[in-house]
Every structure is written in structure tokens, then in C-alpha cells.
């Protein structure tokens, strides 16, 4: 087959396009994202998960160690049961605790894990005993207002 200059241009175009796709994949996106598909799975029950979503990160000391895999309501206890998949490179002691935190003032919510002191590590399917729910801003404000009201009432009656 005779080679033409047109082939050269088409070749250059296709190369540019493929290079652009690679730049998007490697430089712009996070292809080297922590893949936690082969980690171990644990669960934790929270009174209130606030705005936690599936695929939210699980962080310990700020390092991403896993992802939230599922959120269901346990109808026996009426608490939210959150399934976490943790990278197998990060073993956690059995008495670790989980809390729902917010990144920044208005950021997305994530699960924070604090390592405990137990010598036995968590296994696949274990459940965390110690959990701390998300802070619901309305409740905090409600408590604050209630406290204020009680305070001013007490002050008023003393006079």
C-alpha cells in the first residue's frame, strides 16, 4: 500500500488524541487511586450518619485507608449500619473507634477511624463497638438556644 502524507496527518491526529486521553487519565485524574477492592470489610452502627454517602473516604490520621461501601438502616436497633471496606495494608486493632467527621466547615462528610490498643486486629466482617455520630447542626443550635433560654429564665427569677 502506498503511503501518503494524508496517512501521516491522520497518524499525528490519532496520536495527539490518544496522548490527550492519557494526559487526562494520568495527569488530571487519579488513576493511582487507592483501590480497596481487595481490602477487608467491617461495619459500624451510628445513631445518625448526617450526610454520609456511599464511596465517602475512611480516614485515619488524615490518611485515606478505605471507602464507605454501604449504608442501611438496622430495623432492630433503628441505627444506621455503615459498611466500610479498609485497605488490607492497614490493619486496625479490634477496639478501634469510628466517628463521622466533616472536612472543613462545609465540606463533605467522611468516616474517621481512631486506632485502639488491643493486640488482636479487626477481621473481615467484624463490627466496631465504639462509634460517634455525625454532629447535626440543627440539634447543636437547638441545645444552645435551649441552654440560653434556661439561663436567662434563671437570671430573671433571681432578681
Amino acid at each position: 500500500m502506498k503511503r501518503t502524507t494524508l496517512d501521516l496527518w491522520v497518524g499525528l491526529f490519532v496520536t495527539a488524541g490518544v496522548v490527550a486521553l492519557f494526559i487526562l487519565a494520568l495527569k488530571v485524574g487519579n488513576a493511582s487511586n487507592v483501590s480497596v477492592s481487595d481490602g477487608y470489610k467491617i461495619s459500624a452502627e451510628f445513631d445518625n450518619i448526617g450526610g454520609l454517602k456511599v464511596r465517602a473516604p475512611v480516614k485515619s490520621a488524615g490518611v485515606v485507608v478505605g471507602r464507605v461501601e454501604g449504608i442501611v438502616l438496622n430495623t432492630q436497633t433503628f441505627r444506621a449500619k455503615v459498611t466500610l471496606r479498609i485497605d488490607k495494608h492497614y490493619p486496625f486493632p479490634r477496639d478501634s473507634s469510628a466517628s463521622i467527621l466533616t472536612a472543613g466547615l462545609l465540606g463533605e462528610q467522611y468516616v474517621g477511624m481512631d486506632g485502639g490498643g488491643d493486640e488482636v486486629n479487626l477481621k473481615d466482617g467484624d463490627q466496631l463497638k465504639i462509634t460517634q455520630s455525625a454532629i447535626v447542626l440543627e440539634k447543636v443550635i437547638g441545645q444552645f438556644l435551649y441552654g440560653k433560654a434556661a439561663e436567662s429564665n434563671a437570671g430573671g427569677s433571681a432578681k
Binding site: 500500500m1 494524508l6 496517512d7 496527518w9 491522520v10 499525528l12 491526529f13 490519532v14 495527539a16 488524541g17 490518544v18 490527550a20 486521553l21 494526559i23 487526562l24 487519565a25 495527569k27 488530571v28 485524574g29 487519579n30 488513576a31 487511586n33 454517602k53 456511599v54 464511596r55
Partner: protein
């Protein structure tokens, strides 16, 4: 009074039946084009010619507009984000808006006006000068020989053009915010990389550009093939190509976005 009313109803009915008719013809046309695409792959030179025409010759407009869209996004994003003290997030803003939406959509709109209109004109004129009939007389199938290579040329070019557009846009954003304004380069890239997901953002963007490429090329070819064989008919067909593909791209974009980026 009654006459005018009846005329109006008749007109609406005629228009809607006509539209459905054309839609059916277009579907059958696309089926024919794809069904007879064996020659486009057996003689890759035919498809290469069309990639050269639809892709290579559209590069300049794609690169230049990508660069300018990125420059504007960087500038506007910086001005707004600066107020909240998070100017470094401009990388995230530029990359996400380009990869998810602007890259595929604007590239498809440019592609429709640059390559789609030319495809319509070419097919329309071939039809009106009876070149297509002449081919049939010589037992050359115009679908296999002309139309199908055009379709595949557009189909393969569009995702590459959209990717080039996005990369040029991100480069433009980098240029204006990091090089000229002086946002920290490391923060620009790391914030971008932390928030752009390979599968969720980039792959979905590529899927969008593939769908848009197929839609725009199919519309352009059908309008050309369906054009009345007169000078006026061809010129109207070209106009319709640009209008219809722009509407189709925006409508498809809404549907695809609703599928891809809602929920979890």
C-alpha cells in the same frame, strides 16, 4: 373562522406526522449505514480520508477554542474562588467542568458546525448532481463507498477531538492561573488530581463524546441524504444539520448527565 381552525389543526397534524416519518427514515438510514460498513473497514483508506477531513482539519478550531475556553474558565474561576480564599481550587473547577461537560459538548458543537455541515453539503451535492445515482448505475453501493466511511470517520474523530479540547482547556487554565496570576502550581495540580476520578469523570466524559460524535455524524449524513436535490434544498439541509445537531447534543447531554452524575 372554522376554516382557519381546521387549517391550523391540519398543519399541526401534518407537521407531526412528517416529523415521525423523518425520524423513522433516519433510523432506517442509520441502520443501513452501519449495516454496510464492511467496506469502510476492509478498505481503511476510505475511512482514513474521512478521519483526515473530519478530525485533522478540525484540529485548529478545536485547539484554539479549547485554549480560550480554558483561559476564560481559569480567569472567572479565580476571580470567584479568590473571595472564599480557595484560589487553589481553580484547578479542580477547570478540570471538572472541562472533562465532564464543556469538553464533549463544545467540541461536539464545533464539530457539528465545522465537519457536520460539510458532510451534509457533500452528500447533498452528490445527490443533487446525481453522483450517487451514477454510482448505483456502476453497481457501486454509495452507502458502503461514501456514506459509511464518513460515519466511521466522524465516529472515531469526535472522542479524540473532545480529549484534545479538554487537555488544551486545562493547559489554558494552567497558563492563566499559575503562569500569569501566580497560583501555586503544586496546589493547582494536586487539588485537581484529588477530585477528578478516572472512571466517574473521565470515562463518563469519553462516553459522552462518543455518543455526541455518533449523533452529530448521523444527523449530518441523514440531512445530506434527505436534502431536496436543489441548491436551496442543500443549503437548508446544512442549516438544519447545525441546528438539529446542536439541539441533539444539548438534549443528549442532559440525559447522559442525569444518568451519570446523579445519586451516589
Amino acid at each position: 373562522m372554522i376554516d382557519a381552525l381546521a387549517y391550523g389543526i391540519r398543519l399541526v397534524g401534518h407537521r407531526s406526522i412528517n416529523a415521525v416519518w423523518r425520524l423513522g427514515a433516519a433510523t432506517r438510514f442509520i441502520g443501513l449505514v452501519i449495516g454496510r460498513s464492511a467496506m469502510a473497514f476492509r478498505r481503511p483508506q476510505l475511512t482514513l480520508d474521512e478521519i483526515h477531513f473530519a478530525g485533522v482539519l478540525s484540529l485548529i478550531i478545536i485547539i484554539v477554542s479549547g485554549l480560550f475556553v480554558g483561559l476564560v474558565l481559569g480567569l472567572q474561576g479565580y476571580e470567584t474562588l479568590k473571595r472564599y480564599g480557595s484560589a487553589e481550587a481553580v484547578g479542580t473547577l477547570v478540570a471538572l467542568s472541562l472533562v465532564r461537560e464543556l469538553g464533549p459538548v463544545v467540541a461536539a458543537l464545533l464539530f457539528a458546525s465545522r465537519a457536520g455541515s460539510a458532510m451534509t453539503a457533500e452528500i447533498g451535492i452528490m445527490k443533487s448532481t446525481e453522483q450517487l445515482s451514477a454510482m448505483e448505475m456502476m453497481a457501486v453501493d454509495p452507502f458502503a463507498r461514501v456514506i459509511s466511511p464518513m460515519f466511521w470517520g466522524g465516529f472515531f474523530s469526535m472522542p479524540l477531538l473532545a480529549a484534545i479540547f479538554s487537555v488544551m482547556g486545562i493547559f489554558g487554565g494552567y497558563l492563566i492561573t499559575v503562569v500569569i496570576i501566580g497560583v501555586d502550581s503544586g496546589a493547582f495540580w494536586s487539588q485537581m488530581q484529588a477530585s477528578v476520578d478516572l472512571r466517574h469523570d473521565i470515562l463518563n466524559g469519553v462516553i459522552k463524546s462518543v455518543v455526541f460524535g455518533a449523533a452529530v455524524t448521523a444527523i449530518a449524513l441523514f440531512e445530506g441524504y434527505d436534502a431536496p436535490p436543489t441548491a436551496e434544498g442543500v443549503s437548508r439541509a446544512v442549516t438544519r444539520t447545525v441546528v438539529t445537531s446542536a439541539l441533539a447534543v444539548l438534549a443528549l447531554d442532559f440525559v447522559l448527565t442525569a444518568f451519570m452524575f446523579t445519586g451516589v
